[in-house]
Amino acid sequence: MWASGRKKSFNATATDRSNHEGLKGWLNPARYGWERVAYWLQRLTGLFLLIYFIGHIYETSSLTGGESAWNAMLQFTETLWGHLFLVLVIGTSTYHSINGIRLIFAETGTGLGRPGRPDYPYDALSLNYKQKSGIWVALILAAVAMVYGGNVLFGGG
């Protein structure tokens, strides 16, 4: 039963994707609890930070053009929108870091509980208060960091 006659190699184009959710499955986090929202935010913040990272490398390369080139770049970035963008970067990097630490612990089996004998209402052991509070800590600290960052950037600190 288990021994197949002829091994077939995987054919990605032949596999029926018509009822796979596709990107919509990633982009709608609202149906499955806080852990799914955290996953969605982790992805979005990761992509956003990668784009920022590339932009920041380009931005700092203006140093090699001397003081005039650097000041020209600062005129572009040290604006209201530049500062708001930077506040967003502060928040996203804080969230991504703290949630990432939570995920490193979880993906190495820490903080998930031991398997046991599930009973009604069959709540999942792994989706426990430690995970939810980790997510909330990440969100709250991100908000705090954004407030502090905004104070530094706009408050002349």
């Binding site: 288990w2 995987f10 990605a12 596999t15 029926d16 994707r17 018509s18 009822n19 796979h20 959710e21 596709g22 990107l23 919509k24 499955g25 990633w26 149906r31 499955y32 609890g33 852990e35 799914r36 955290a38 996953y39 969605w40 982790q42 995920l103 979880a106 993906e107 190495t108 089996g109 998930l112 509980g113 031991r114 398997p115 046991g116 004998r117 599930p118 009973d119 069959y122 709540d123 999942a124 052991l125 792994s126 989706l127 995970q131």
Partner: protein, 277 residues
Amino acid sequence: MAGIIEKIPMLRAGSKKDKGSKTSGSVTLRVYRSNSANGNSYRYDTFDVPIQRWTTVLDALLYAKAYEDNSIAIRYSCRMASCGSCGMKINGRPRLACYTNVAELESPVITCQPLTNFSLIRDLVTDFSEFFRHHKSIKPFIINQNADLMTSEEVSEFIQSPRDVDEYLQFSYCIKCGLCYSACPTVATDVRFLGPQALAQAYRYYADTRDNGSREDMKNIDDKHGIWRCHFAGSCSNVCPKGVDPALGIQLLRRHLTSFSKHDKKIAEMKHHGQVT
């Protein structure tokens, strides 16, 4: 079917309109209708279904099938959340139709759609071939070279303490309903990803002290489309109706693969051979 057939006349009697009063206890059932033989076109058919306090979504669907449109295709069997046949999306979330009470949905309209991430056959019936192929690929059975009782003089039984059983028992409760597979964001785009069910079953056999098949060497698990494409979104455990918690199984298997606790299995093997107590 005996139970639902007896119930239906009661439901129909209860739904008769009295003079000047509204029908009590009814919902609007929106059912996805499609036939893969006719291409990808689909529509939603609407049925008004009388309900009682105990009516499940499966009861409502079977009422619609019996009295409104007998061409509705539904897969079901045990009606008690034991076989996993009646998995579908109900109001946007994968659930077992037999295990979902209409009243708990708190909605006058119930939308029934086939499980996503499975190929469609017809209406609410989906093709589980890919799902079962992934399940088979992790070799879901005990592998133990000493298992042949005819040739091995040492083995009369595999000793397993209650604690040993607890390590894998909840993962053995899986009924292969496919709800976790439907909910998983990775399965949504990655057709080569094994899926939460297969990976949780891989852990179930890995953690079973009767198994010494060294599943961590299996290339399809330690692969770029294997266990590493799980990101602990937790949706699988969120929708599982049996408390299997596949996310837990997957992260525990990852712990072994990232070598954070390789010794667990070894200790189990040593206990089996009487080298430790």
